[in-house]
C-alpha cells in the first residue's frame, strides 16, 4: 500500500455549509465538500471549498484540488470551484 498523487479534477459527492461558530475564532459560514475522483474509484477526500458562494454549490460540480493554511502551520485539503463547470 502506498500513496497516490492525484492532480486531476474531482467531483462533489456531497457537501454541507457550516453556519455554527463552534469556536470563537472560527469564521463562518464555510463550505465542506466530499470529493470523488472519476479516475480513482474508491477515493473520497473531504475538504473546504472556495471560489464560489456557498449557496451555489451543487452535487456533481467539478472542483480543482488545492490546499490552504491550516492550524499549526500545516496545509489542509481544500478544493476550488471550477467556474465554467456548469
Amino acid at each position: 500500500m502506498s500513496p497516490v498523487e492525484i492532480t486531476s479534477r474531482g467531483r462533489i459527492y456531497s457537501y454541507t455549509v457550516n453556519y455554527q461558530r463552534w469556536l470563537p475564532e472560527l469564521d463562518v459560514p464555510f463550505a465542506i465538500v466530499l470529493v470523488e475522483f472519476p479516475d480513482y474509484p474508491g477515493v473520497r477526500v473531504v475538504g473546504r471549498l472556495r471560489g464560489c458562494p456557498p449557496e451555489d454549490i451543487a452535487i456533481d460540480d467539478e472542483v480543482e484540488v488545492g490546499f490552504e493554511p491550516g492550524p499549526g502551520g500545516y496545509a489542509i485539503p481544500s478544493f476550488v470551484a471550477v467556474a465554467d463547470a456548469r
Partner: protein, 393 residues
C-alpha cells in the same frame, strides 16, 4: 433464523432514569446512581442481585464535553456489590445493551446493568453553546483527522453531507422532514420528563437558523443532563422480575466503510443491520406497533424508517409528511417520548430503549400507544449501528 439465538436467553428487566433536564444540579456520579438504582428497583430486584456492570462509553474518556459516565469501579464501590462481569464500551457498541445481553446469555452474569450519563446540557451552558470536539481535543487524530482541521468540529458537520446526498437522490424536502421533529414535539408534550414540551410548527422549523446545511436547529437533538440505566437479566429469572420484556431479535452490522466521510452510499444507511435483525425473527415490519429510532439528527430517524422497511427507500418524506402516520394514533408511532430532539440527548439509544420497554408494559402514561406489543429500536445507523425488536412477555 437459527435454532438458538443468544437474545432468547435474556430479557430486559428494568429501565431507570434520573431527573432529566437542560441543566440538572447533580453530579454525573449522582445521576448515574439515581438511574442505576431506579432501574434495579424497576426490575423488581435489589442491588445485591446485580453481578454485571457496564457503561457506554467506557474508559472514562471525555469524548465530548459533558460525557459524564464516570468510572465503573466507583459505581461498583457505591453499590457494594460483587461483579462477575464488567465492561466499558468505546467502540463496537451496536445497541449498548447488546454486550450485557451476550454476557448474561453466556452465563457470565445473571443481572447486568448498563448506564449512560450525560451532562451535555451543563457543558453547553459553560461553553456558551453546543460543545465541539475542538474544545477538548486540540490534536486531530483517528477518524476525526480529516474533519477537525477543516473546522468541522461537531457531529452535525459529519452527518449533514448524508442528508444533503439523501435529499438530492430522492427529492425529499426539508418541509417534509420537518414533520419528524414537529410530531415528536407533540409527543414530548405528553411526556413530563421531556426537555422541550411546547408545540413546534413546520413554519418555526423552516424559519429556524441553519447549523450545517441542510440540518437546522430543530434537526439537532437537545443537549441535556441525565442518566439512563438498563438491566438485562437471564430468562430463567423471569419469575423474580416485575415486568420484563423479551428481545425478539437484535443485530449490528457495518457493511460500508466505517467512517463519516467514506461511507459509500450516503443515501442508504442501516440496511445491513435492519436486514440482519429481520433475519433473526418471524416478525415483519407490519407487526411493529411503536418505533423508537435514533434521532441525534432528524436524518438518522429517516435512515431507520427506510432501512427497517417501514417505508421504501427515498419514501420517508412522503411517509412522515403531515405527521399522521408517525403520531400516537398513526400506523407507526415514532419516538413517543419526544426522541432526543425534544426529550433530550440521552444518547446511544438509551432513551429509546427505556421508552420501548415502557410502551410494551403499558406504562407510558399519557403517551401510551394502546396495545403496543412489538417495538423497534434503532441506534445511530452510520458507521456504528444497532437495532432490536422488543416484545411484551
Amino acid at each position: 433464523m437459527g435454532p438458538d439465538r443468544f437474545e432468547q436467553h435474556v430479557v430486559i428487566s428494568g429501565v431507570g432514569q434520573s431527573v432529566i433536564g437542560r441543566q440538572v444540579d447533580r453530579s454525573g456520579f449522582q445521576l448515574t446512581l439515581d438511574a442505576v438504582l431506579a432501574a434495579i428497583d424497576d426490575a423488581g430486584l435489589t442491588v445485591d442481585d446485580i453481578d454485571g456492570l457496564a457503561m457506554f462509553p467506557g474508559g472514562g474518556v471525555a469524548n465530548l464535553p459533558g460525557y459524564a459516565n464516570g468510572n465503573l469501579y466507583e459505581v461498583q464501590d457505591a453499590l457494594r456489590i460483587t461483579t462477575t462481569w464488567r465492561q466499558g464500551q468505546v467502540e463496537g457498541m451496536s445497541l449498548p445493551f447488546s454486550a450485557p445481553a451476550q454476557a448474561v446469555a453466556t452465563g457470565q452474569a445473571r443481572h447486568a446493568v448498563i448506564w449512560r450519563t450525560v451532562k451535555e446540557g451543563s457543558a453547553a451552558r459553560r461553553a456558551g453553546g453546543r460543545p465541539a470536539y475542538g474544545a477538548n481535543k486540540p490534536v486531530a487524530e483517528g477518524s476525526m483527522a480529516w474533519w477537525l482541521p477543516l473546522g468541522a468540529l461537531s457531529p452535525v458537520c459529519h452527518v449533514a453531507p448524508f442528508a444533503t446526498r439523501y435529499m438530492h437522490e430522492y427529492g425529499v424536502t426539508r418541509e417534509q422532514l420537518a414533520w419528524i421533529p414537529v410530531t415528536q414535539r407533540a409527543h414530548a408534550a405528553r411526556n413530563p420528563n421531556a426537555v422541550y414540551r411546547t408545540p413546534l410548527s413546520v413554519e418555526e422549523y423552516m424559519e429556524s437558523r441553519m447549523i450545517s446545511s441542510p440540518i437546522c436547529l430543530y434537526d439537532c437533538d437537545v443537549p441535556a443532563d441525565g442518566a439512563t440505566a438498563i438491566v438485562v437479566s437471564a430468562v430463567d429469572t423471569v419469575p423474580d422480575l416485575r415486568a420484563p420484556v423479551r428481545i425478539a431479535a437484535m443485530a449490528g452490522v457495518i457493511d460500508q466503510r466505517p467512517s463519516w466521510e467514506q461511507w459509500e452510499d450516503m443515501g442508504r444507511v442501516g440496511y445491513a443491520t435492519a436486514a440482519a435483525m429481520w433475519n433473526r425473527t418471524d416478525l415483519t415490519p407490519d407487526d411493529v406497533h411503536v418505533a423508537q429510532l435514533y434521532d441525534g439528527f432528524t436524518i438518522e430517524a429517516v435512515w431507520w424508517l427506510e432501512a427497517m422497511g417501514f417505508c421504501g427507500t427515498g419514501e420517508a418524506g412522503s411517509f412522515v409528511e403531515g405527521g399522521k402516520r408517525i403520531s400516537l394514533d398513526g400506523q407507526l408511532p415514532l419516538n413517543t417520548w419526544g426522541g432526543q430532539l425534544s426529550g433530550g440527548r440521552l444518547h446511544a439509544g438509551f432513551g429509546h430503549t427505556a421508552e420501548a420497554v415502557r410502551q410494551l408494559r403499558g406504562e407510558a402514561g399519557e403517551r401510551q400507544v394502546p396495545g403496543a406489543e412489538v417495538a423497534a429500536i434503532g441506534n445511530v445507523g452510520g458507521y456504528e449501528a444497532g437495532a432490536a425488536l422488543l416484545t411484551s412477555l
